[in-house]
């Protein structure tokens, strides 16, 4: 395509990039403003970052969220991967139903999942805690991981594992030395996605938290509902940097996966 002068789609696209980044830039700028009321610029200051790092409640909430996300994702990585392999490998009566069920967490709105989980936990009289949040998060984590791993399986060379078996590898060896290394980029990508979704989840956590746990989205939500909080601006910047790092890792994983696929 010849290089043309500026056209209206490129102008419009530039405008849309500005639209996507404008709110993030605003948050970032005001996190360094000394003014409590962020309408005006109050001079450069790090006071909100100091306030953030001495805010015990917020740090405890971050810790809760990290525990939930890491435990839920770690277990889901195993269950989701096994499910994806099983779905690709076996035919059995009711497979369509099983596959449909595996898509449900992606389809049913969060609020409905949250409500259903709360009603269920109440009916079996399980006390709400960090554990119930983890159990509820595992539902959508394993579904997302299974979807990402499934799409990876679809693009694998089907002959490799069989070749390993023909060459005398045991089933265990074939699984751990041939199949899993090939699936690794997919598993990792699925885990990153599930981690971000778990850290971001407000509704399901709200309905399964009870008094025992207070993950970050619940804490942020209860604070920002009542107006602008400058220390939340500082927190946003820290979290955005964290997510940019995760996104970077995810992109690298994708690049790694593509390269690995090309070389096989």
């Amino acid at each position: 395509m010849p290089s043309r002068p500026v056209t209206w789609p490129s102008l419009f696209t530039a405008l849309m990039y500005a639209f996507m980044y404008f709110p993030i830039i605003v948050l970032g700028a005001y996190s360094f403003s000394d003014s409590r009321y962020s309408a005006s610029w109050g001079g450069f200051s790090l006071r909100w970052y100091r306030a953030l790092f001495s805010d015990r409640r917020l740090l405890a909430a971050l810790q809760d969220s990290l525990i939930i996300a890491i435990v839920a994702v770690a277990i889901s990585a195993v269950l989701g991967t096994l499910m994806a392999i099983g779905l690709a490998r076996y035919r059995f009566p009711g497979k369509g139903l099983y596959r449909g069920m595996s898509y449900l967490p992606l389809i049913i709105p969060d609020i409905a999942i949250a409500v259903a989980t709360l009603v269920f936990l109440a009916s079996v009289a399980v006390p709400l805690s960090l554990g119930t949040i983890i159990a509820a998060h595992m539902v959508f984590c394993l579904a997302y991981i299974a979807v990402v791993v499934s799409s990876r399986i679809q693009r694998l060379d089907p002959n490799l594992e069989e070749a390993a078996l023909d060459l005398g590898a045991t089933h265990t060896q074939a699984m751990f030395k041939v199949l899993l290394p090939q699936l690794a980029p997919g598993i990792l990508a699925g885990c990153l996605l599930a981690f971000v979704l778990s850290m971001d989840d407000l509704l399901i956590s709200s309905f399964t938290a009870g008094g025992g746990a207070n993950p970050l989205p619940i804490e942020i939500f209860s604070r920002v509902r009542t107006g602008v909080k400058p220390d939340i601006n500082a927190l946003s910047v820290m979290l955005i940097l964290g997510s940019a790092l995760l996104a970077g890792i995810a992109e690298y994983v994708r690049y790694w996966g593509d390269r690995q696929r090309q070389s096989t």
């Binding site: 409905a112 539902v139 694998l156 089933h171």
Partner: protein, 323 residues
């Protein structure tokens, strides 16, 4: 989305239609097994029960069963926490038909349709530019840059708009600086439309991009050679060719915006009660009407299922899964 068994490790001849109770017999185990793990491998490690059982049980117990449970209690009229309930009936569903609740459902639909249309109008040119006009070398990076905000908390992205749209916020600072009248958009439906469009625009662009990327450029070139104007090329080739992608992206954004909770709550204020907020209030608010809340949830699930059915019928599902 279809995973053919023939695509994956074992050719069809090796598939022995194992049921959940009879693990597949290892067709390929001529080698003597040395360790216990190897000996157990075909049956335990790789059997269908091990592979599909744990996740299946988890989903069954924590998703399917709970959903059936709310279906049941939605059929108990007037069920409230801590109160004895009467028999079954359709009272909760009839309650939804009251004008005050129908208005909430109507408002949710208006939010969803409006913001989906805005996402499509704003997202299509971006996806078009990225897929067909951006410099090839930077294409991937540019796409990633556009969807990067999806990696940050949706809560904080909505909160960012409150700092912009407040009466004393950034927007009004800019408007008054260039001599325009200040706007008071926070806590109005306008803010909800802005917030929803902002939140779901990256999804729209991502799916449309996947669809436009597959567009056969030769068709456009052929049409241009035969004398079609750029406008004709666009409306007679680009749009019809990407229609399944457009349908998929729009339905997905519609589903997400229909049930969004964060944006209407943070940006819309009291005037923007939608179905998710109404359900939330039935359970975590003061009313505690679990039966009514469950009925609303079932209606929402039904609406979303209908949209999914349309997606499967008309949309390009591959585009969605690839994205």
């Amino acid at each position: 989305m279809k995973i053919q068994n023939s695509n994956f490790p074992y050719p069809p001849t090796l598939l022995t239609f194992p049921t959940l109770l009879t693990p597949m017999t290892p067709a390929h185990s001529p080698t003597p097994s040395n360790t216990w793990a190897d000996r157990l491998a075909p049956r335990l490690w790789l059997g269908p029960v091990t592979l599909l059982g744990p996740a299946g049980v988890w989903l069954l117990v924590l998703l399917v069963l709970p959903t059936l449970l709310i279906l049941e209690i939605s059929l108990v009229p007037g069920l409230r926490l801590g109160q004895p309930s009467g028999g079954y009936g359709l009272g909760n569903y009839l309650q939804i038909l009251q004008p005050v609740y129908l208005r909430v459902i109507w408002r949710s639909l208006v939010f969803a349709v409006g913001s989906t249309a805005l996402c499509l109008l704003m997202g299509f040119p971006v996806a078009y530019w990225l897929a067909l006009m951006s410099p090839q070398r930077w294409r991937n990076l540019l796409l990633v840059a556009f969807i990067l905000p999806l990696w940050t908390s949706s809560l904080l992205r909505a909160y960012a708009w409150t700092t912009i749209l407040r009466p004393s916020g950034v927007l009004n600072g800019m408007l008054t600086a260039i001599g325009l009248p200040a706007q008071n958009w926070l806590n109005t439906p306008t803010a909800v439309f802005i917030g929803l469009t902002y939140s779901f625009l990256p999804y729209m662009v991502l799916i449309l991009y996947a669809s436009l990327e597959k567009l056969d450029i030769r068709l456009l070139e052929a049409a241009a050679d035969l004398g079609a104007t750029p406008r004709q090329c666009f409306w007679k080739i680009t749009v019809p060719q990407t229609l399944p992608g457009i349908a998929a992206a729009s339905l997905l954004v519609f589903i997400s915006t229909l049930s969004d909770f964060v944006v209407p709550t943070l940006l819309g204020g009291a005037s923007s009660m939608n179905i998710s907020r109404l359900i939330y209030n039935q359970f975590l608010g003061p009313t505690r009407a679990w039966g009514f809340g469950s009925a609303l949830s079932m209606v929402l699930i039904l609406a979303v299922s209908l949209a999914i059915a349309l997606l499967i019928r008309y949309g390009d599902r591959n585009t969605v899964t690839e994205a």
